[in-house]
Each structure stands twice: as structure tokens, then as C-alpha cells.
Amino acid sequence: MPLDTKPNVIPTTFKTVGTRPVRPDGVDKVTGRARFGADMQAPGMLVGRVLRSPHAHARIVKIDTSKAEALPGVKAVITSKDMPAQEGCDMDVLTNVMARDKALYDGHAVAAVAAVDAAVARKALKLIKVDYKVLPHVTDVDEAMKPDAPILHAHIEHEYQQDLLETAGHVKGKKERTLPKGKRPSNIAGRYEFGHGDIKKGFAEADVIVEHEFTTEATHQGYIEPHACLASVSSDGWAEMWVCTQGHFMVRDVCAKLLGLDVSRLRVTASEIGGGFGGKTTVFIEPVALALSRKAGKPVKIVMSREEVFRATGPTSSASMKVKIGAKRDGTFTAADAILKFQGGAFPGSPVEMGAMCAFACYDLRNVRIIGYDVVTNRPKQAAYRAPGAPMAAFAVEACVGELSEKLKMDAIDIRLKNAAKEGTVSSYGPTFGPVGLVETLQAAKAHKNYKVKLGPNQGRGVASGFWFNFGGQTCTTLNLNSDGTLGLAVGTPDIGGSRASMCLMAAEELGIAYDDVRTIVADTGSLGYNDISEGSRVTFSSGLATINAARDCKKKLCQRAAMIWGIPEEAVEWKDGHARPAGANAGNFEPLSIKELAAKASGTGGPIAGHFEVNADGAGPSFATHVVDVEVDPETGAMKVLRYLVVQDAGKAIHPDYVEGQFQGGAVQGIGWVLNEEYIYGADGRLQNPGFLDYRIPVCSDVPMIDTVIVEVPNPGHPYGVRGVGETSIVPPLAAVANAVSAAMGVRATTLPMSPPKVLAALENKMRKAAD
């Protein structure tokens, strides 16, 4: 059978892949038929509500639920006592979904109720009496790193070192000497270091050195659909959940572990999802709904309010950073150094390690060092947000690169081209790059018309590049041939960006049939083997790889059936253009059999025909992007207008170009919001001041121009069609690109995000004051 022995050669031409058909879920979504998390209903369903801490940091002395339990219509009340620690469960996750001895942030869940309706549930929450002993709190990353900061967790210890004292703002000398040697309780959960070479020597070789300190604020993914789930535990212990999530297999396994259930007893179905961007890669209300249902004996639905989403789900980290880059007069970088401090909320696990790995990944550096600190604070536990950690690090690094280009009077793209990472470059985080497309994105950006537009007064142009790894992961896919020759494709990766259309395209391409003849569904956890979360830009890569191989498995079986019908060996049959055909003149003279004809004969040739593929997919190719943006600053109000925006990114191969471009545009727009307006604002009391879209402003259509896109295709050798992930890289450069544009427009370096109008005005006034002096 030739199909098994063909080498993995990436095709250069495609019939179906690369076209732009309408997405299969489009009509349902625009007509309101699509069922999101909150749309799920069950007979006898109760309403779940969560009581949350009003304090940033407090010891929970006592919780009295008796009055709530006595309220008519209340069917269950739970606290952490109803969710005891199970062997092997992740205690940080368990403690985050329901506080145990301490409330660690404003919004931390402390109890929950299930009642016959929302009014009774709200009333019951008011009847729960919690005695708190309020403790000192800390929400700022630099403050939290100080040796005398309020400590969140007694078990987290760190040995304070000289570099740390410097980064935390402590001068060398008296205070340093008073610290006892050895480990002591700390909010520093980890210190990480990457790099190679000798940065001291590298900086000594530099003709120009740029060094700045930067800060970014925590931002939320801003998905439109709040978290929602419906849990139903039956009296015999079997359970079902319908959840708005990026990974229903993860929800099943984590919930089963937290509540001590057998995995096989819990079946989870993923609803349609109204955005996730990484924020729905963990659990918040799901184990709570399950515990309430178990106690009440009835289905329980919990839908978060927008305020709860802000206060109690996972925004990204805020960051405090210091970056230094040295260069020769010709623009060659000689050394680069960075210290990144990320707070990740009340539990360890900020994405600082990935930020550290991505920080200088765009550049070929002989001498480089990155130190990262993972810091806990009295804020909600951070969750992933598109390319976690990379956008903040890129902001600081690319700002310095921008300033170097100005000081050296070099074109902003030329200096990046001179130092760009390419195939064979030893990356700043260690491994040597294979084929990558940064140079191609820079060349395409330089050739684009936007880069040639002449700027007017108060306008500035910014350029930035960015990197993201892209991942593969566990994937299981089944392709079922229907009796009429159409196909049902079952994948286990929730569709968060149009992936069902891409899967249909790949299956159709491989089988040589029409796009409309394939229908993709996201199957529940009882229908497929384990699938990792839809994260890490992995879905089109790994679910696509599995789909292509499931289609090849299907083709092999179709050829076997044709061979049976013709009475010739399987090896003498090939699959071409949607038909089984005799492979060459010696195979015999038979009329080709179409997939529809073979489907119709399936019953008589051995029964159903299906292709399967299971894999822990490796070989995801990293991707690079370059963004170019023009802005105009109003010097009277500090308001900023984005005039034009260009995204150039290496997709490897764009399966459905509309959705690739959509990912590029979405990342750019979220980045624009991050750099211009979005921020978590905490008061002196440690409470979040702006938990709603009125006070936390995400960009709307009128805030942004059309985002221009250029798809670069440097094939990834690790995928049958050359696919790289595209979902995350697009959010890496925008913070830096826009900040560089704002800096150019103002004539002042922007080092603090967001660059909201008051900060822009203050920077301009400061500049004028200095000029006057």
C-alpha cells in the first residue's frame, strides 16, 4: 500500500486548503442558535451562587451557614469543608476555587449556595456569616518582593540575594546586612535564569548602550462570554457537566481529582465558547458546581457575573522589568540583559519563565542573560493570556531596540534584520532554531505600503517583532464515513478560533472531496481519547495533524474495500481525487470508485468505515511576527489615535486564510487595548476598583483602524502541510509596536503601560518643562 511508505513531503499546491469557505458554525452564531455555557438547561436545575471575600487578605476565623441552610428554597450550602483535599490533587487549584484558612484576594470564593432560583440564592449568600481577621496585604510586584512585605504563604521561602535586593529597590549597605542568611518566608516563589556567553564582556564591546525600567499592568483576556457551567451528579455517583471551556478533558480530569471521583464517572461536554484567549484553560466555578450538585442531588448551574469574571478569574500578570542592550556602531548587538519580575496573583505560577525565554528570542545574541522572578501577591491567581509572559517582555526589549535604532540612526527594520534570529541561530533560551521566518516577516513589513507612508505632525511610527513557541500535545481524532459518502469528523479540541472550518478543509484536501461534505464536531469526553486543551496555538497544528492522519487511515480502508470489490491486492489500489483507482496498468482496468460509491457498499464490504488517529503531537514550529503601527497623539488631551496597523506573521501554511488573518487582527487589537487603556486598578484597601467594562475599557471597533495583514508562509517541517500555530504570536509585538509609535510621536520614551491620556499628558508636560529648563 503506497500510502504507508510515502515520505512526509509537504505539498506545494493545494486544492481545498488555502480557500476561504464560510465556517460551519457561522449561521448558528449569527442567528443565536449556538448554545453557549449559560444556554444549557436541565430538568430540576438549581441556581448556584458564590460568596466572595471583600478583603484582599484575611484569615477566615469562622463561617456560619446555618441561617442560609434554613432559608426555604436553599438546597445546598458548601464551604471548603465540603471540598476536602484529595490525594494527589493540586492544592493551589483547590484553594483557589474555594478559600480554606485564608482569603487571599478580593473576590476569593469562601462559600457557595444552590437554590431554586437566583433571588433565593442571593438572599442565602447574605445570610452566610463569615468572621474575618483582616491581614496586611500587598498587590504590587516590587512591594511584594521586599523582605518586609506581608507574606501570603508561610511555606514559600526564598534566599534573598544581592541581585534581588537591587531589583527590589533596596540599596546595598545597611539594610542588606541586617538580613539573616538562608531561606526565609517570602512572596518570591521562584527565580529563573536563561542565557549564554559573557554579558560583561559583551557590554564592554558596545559603542552604545540603552537601558530602561518598564512596568505593565495586569490585563484581562476580556472574553465576551463569562464563565458558565452546568453540573449534574446523579444519586448513583455518575456525573455530567456542560462547560464553557478551552479544554473539557482537562475539566473532567481536574474536577474528578479535586472531588475524589473516578474519571470514568464524569462526562464533560464543551459548549460553544465566547472567547477564551487562555483564560478558560483552568477551572474556577466548575468544581464548585459539581460539589453543590453532589450535595443537593440536583443539577446546578453557575454563571459568573462580569464583576466576578474580573475579580475572581485569571487576568495576566503585571510586570516590573529592567532591560539593557549594547550595540556596535553598525547596529550589531553585543550583549543583552533583562530582569523580569511578574506577579501572578495569590499562587505561584506567573508566566515569567516563558517571558524570560521569549524576551530576546528574536535576536542572534552571543552574550545574553535573562533573570525572572515569580512573585505572589493578593490578587486573583493569574491565568494564561495568549503567549503568556511574552508580550510584556517583548514590550521592554523592543522599546530598547527601538531606541538603539534611533541612537544609531538606523532604520527600525534594518537593525532588526541585522540581528534577526534565523535557522541555525542559538536561541537566547538555549536550543538552536530550525527553519523560522522572522527575516521574511521583516522583509515583508519593509516592503509594505504602510511603511512608506509619510507621517504628519504629532504622529509616530513604531515597529516591533515577537516570538512564540507554539505547542502540540495529546490529540485523538475520529473520522466517520456516513452512508451517503459525507464525513463526520470528531475532534476533542474546543473551537476557539474557527478550527472546525480548518479541520474540514484538511480532511477534504486529504480525501479529495468537497469542503461541504465534511462536518466537524467537538466531541464530549466519553467519545474520544484524551485531548489536551485548546491552548498554545496548538489546535490547527495538532488536531490538524491528527485529522490528516485520520483521513489517511480512512483512505487506506477505502482502498482496501475497493481492492476487495475488484478482487486485486490492496497494494494495487491508490486514492486520487476522491476516488479509489487501480495503481497503474498492471493493476487491471477498473472504473474508479468514488467515496460515495464505496460508502454505499460499506455494509457489504465489511461494515462501517472510519479513520482514527491518536498522537502526542510534537514538531510544532515556532513563529515570529513583525508589526508596524502609526499613531497620532493629541498634545492637548493626551488622547491617541491608531492611524494604521500592519501585522506580518509566519503561519507556516494558512489553512483558512480568513481565520489566520482574524487571529492576526485579534491579537493586534487586544494588544492595542493593553498598551493604551486596559489595567487592573487596586485601591489602598487592596480591592479591585474597576471590575466592569465601563471602567475597564477594552477597544471597540471605532477605536481601531482596519488591521492590515500579510501572511508569510515558511513551512513547518513538523506538520504534513507545514502548519505553524498562529493564535498567540500576534499579541507579542503590539505593546512594543504601539509604545514605540507613541514614543516617536511624543518625543519621549514610553516605559509605563497603559499609556493612557493622563500619562501621555504628564510625559509631554515633563518634556516641555525640561526643554524650558
Binding site: G190, F194, A384, R386, T432, N616, D618
Partner: protein, 81 residues
Amino acid sequence: MLTVKLGGSLAAKAGGKSEFEIEGRNVADVLRALGELCPELKPILDKGVSVSIDGTLHREALYQPLTPANEIFILPRMAGG
């Protein structure tokens, strides 16, 4: 012998040593040997790490064959959004 390099926090857990010469045929052999050489590293290795082989990231490819010609980096376990 395979040359195995450790990235980021992993080197700190290996007493600051970032490069090891290890006898082995695949990723599982490498992780087992590292765990024995560096007990402080073992819980992290058991929980899961990423392995870069010639620039390609692998997350749990324990039986991926290795040769002395491969560039092998053990990196922290990574997650995306």
C-alpha cells in the same frame, strides 16, 4: 554519550550545573539519569518538562530516540493561552 543541557530554573535545581554527559537511548533514559544525579530535580522531572531535540519542542515524548549528534535541552514545562 548524550550531551544534555538544562535551561532556566532546572539548572538551579541541579546545583547550578547546566550540562551533563549521560548514557542513554531516549528521553526516558535521560530523565531517569538526571533524576538520579540530581535528586532535587527529580520531582520537577516527574511532574513534566519540555524537551527540545534539535530545536523541536517535545512535551512528553519519553521514548523519542536520541543519539550523541542530537542537541538536547531540558526546559521548563510550558503552557500557552
